[in-house]
Amino acid sequence: MPDLETFQRDARAWLEANCPPEMRTPPRNEEDRCWGGKRWKFESAAQRTWLERMVAKGWTVPEWPTAYGGGGLSREEAKVLRAEMRSLGCRSPLDSFGIWMLGPALLKYGSEEQKRHYLPQITRGEIRWCQGYSEPNAGSDLASLQTKAEDKGDHFLINGQKIWTSYADKADWIFCLVRTDPAAKKHEGISFLLFDMTSQGVSTKPILLISGKSPFCETFFDNVKVPKNQLVGTLNKGWDIAKYLLTHERDMIGSMGDGGANRPLGQVAAQSLGTTAAGELADPMLRADIAHFEIDEAAFRMTMERAGDMMKAGQGNPAFSSVLKYYGTELNKRRHELLMSAGGTDALEWESDRSHNGARARNWLRTKANSIEGGTSEVQLNIVAKRILGLPDA
């Protein structure tokens, strides 16, 4: 593939010339990640420069069509680009629910007018989006959502409440599931709307988690007016879009459980607990648990690899992502339980400098949500039982 080699050489040269050195180090904290949006304050000139240059190339979204501000790259080219960015240590120029979630949905379900209007803004990081899916009384049964949108002629009138809205307090716009036909069956009266978070009647409230501060909010809608042209797809067919996006989200969360970049647990434990004269971890029972974990984790990483290869080869069941989500998140919880065990009481300090403000404990607590968010482990097991194993409904 001579073209791909040329592309690789060119991409590398461009990255070397254009990626500021400060943007070639891993983000140290939340602020080092660029989320964009109307209220965004760049951390540094380099962060701004890097975003602007990548936007100009269309490489904040390398595979989107150039007509909408994308890079127009093929899947293979995009893969090469990502590999080159990784090899140079380039940071992501823009993190965005617009790119990860809304964009794919608009590309598939949006009108041409909506694509031309919203997608370029997303690629440039001009609008920061949040996702209005979950509701307090819905939980795993997402489709039972109650936030209603009444047809008022030229606009919808929105009333209701969302929960687990990530960065709702920082977002400019929301993509939101609402009930437009309360009389229909629960999956058939839902629509997918976009609207401005500064609209009259929108308010947000951050959620404190057991691990401490979080990006999550409760979001309230009190007689919010939304123009009708902000409906995406067909009225009352929003559940199709939701399902499409949920699969995306599942893949993302499942892959977080990979843990490939993490230090081997055995080493971490040996550092805090020491080893015997024979070089064995000083806690023999913990050693057994860690060996068991590392076997499972390694095998899971191989499964991520195999699932990726199957996808590329056009093999495999799409519901397999539920296996990855289920196992990956349970594995990640196990990892953090073992880290806590290795850390002992040192890791239980919540506010000291010594414990980096309880970092290990907070991470541990945070992992408990892994098997809840993006579809609970129970929901994933239901999916596997039905869509892969073909077991009958109850």
Partner: protein, 379 residues
Amino acid sequence: MALLLTEEQTMLRDSVRGFLADHGPISQLRRLRDSRDPVGFSRDLWAQFADMGLTGLLVPEAFGGTGLGHVEAGLVMEEIGRNLTPSPFLATALLAASAIARAGSVDQKSTYLPTIASGKLIAAVAVDEGPKHRPHAIEMTAKRHGNGFVLDGAKAMVVDGHAADVMIVAARTSGTAGDKGGITLFLVNPKTAGTAIERTIMVDAHNSARVEFRGVAVDADAVLGDVDQGGDILAGVLNVGRAAVAAELVGVGEEAFSRSIAYLTERTQFGKTIGQFQALQHRAAHLYSELEITRSAVLKALQVLDDDFANATAFVAIAKARAGKSSTLAVQEAVQMHGGMGMTDAFDIGLFMKRARVAQELFGDFNFQAVALAQLKQY
């Protein structure tokens, strides 16, 4: 003896249960935590404990206590666990009182036991130095100096160490880290020069401290028991602590479980009460079995401490191991079954998970107890 509570014990449990639900509920823990209370427990509640005779539960009647047993101590700990009540009960009324009552001189008993029983004295026991419970690994030294000793070393995870009026400190008078012998216990006034106390804010908002001793001089009569013979006393004290924390974990685990069952019967999803889903039913039934089996092991250990204190180690190890494991399962299932709500600080369930994690470490986690048991059974 039947593996059941006696009538008196049942009455005590009921009275403590009602009392703590009223006067030491989780909202109290939240208030102490959120106001960053410098003491971290309610002194009023401790005074009420004294009025009820609980502060002197293990103190012989001759020294102003009620002279009850370990089963009774476990009942109180269980209710403390159920309500996540921060209280000096464990360190002062159980660990310190047990150590002094069993090993103290007549003078030491007269000095400390009545004030413990009256609720006037807060005590702490300082054993561990690293992140894991390893009582034989003590490195802190006590060197003879004139008539007394000079203490040097640092202790971690000293429960109530920031509030203690007296500390029982385990230090090495001979041997090296890893030796079973050579440990001596000292009664130390934490105001003595050279003592530095740092209160550590823990994940569970319960009380703990790190304590440093730099050339801390103590008199010969500060020795509790005999020089170099502290290991045996300590073994007994730690068994009391393990069984007590196991009982607390029974309370933590069962309360988390009963809240989960309540949630399963309230919450609806997909048009059903989630408690109707068989997969959750089976997990709940399994967890119930685990908790009941733990309850038996804990009661057994407490009874053996009452009947045959010197031979309780295996029973206590089984109880603490089981309590650590099954309460961990209970809080994990509780958070998962509560879904997203369980992840919020506004819900109580996460507080149970936090306390269970700390209590799992206290006086040896599951792995520690399992190794101890394998060693006892010679394999």
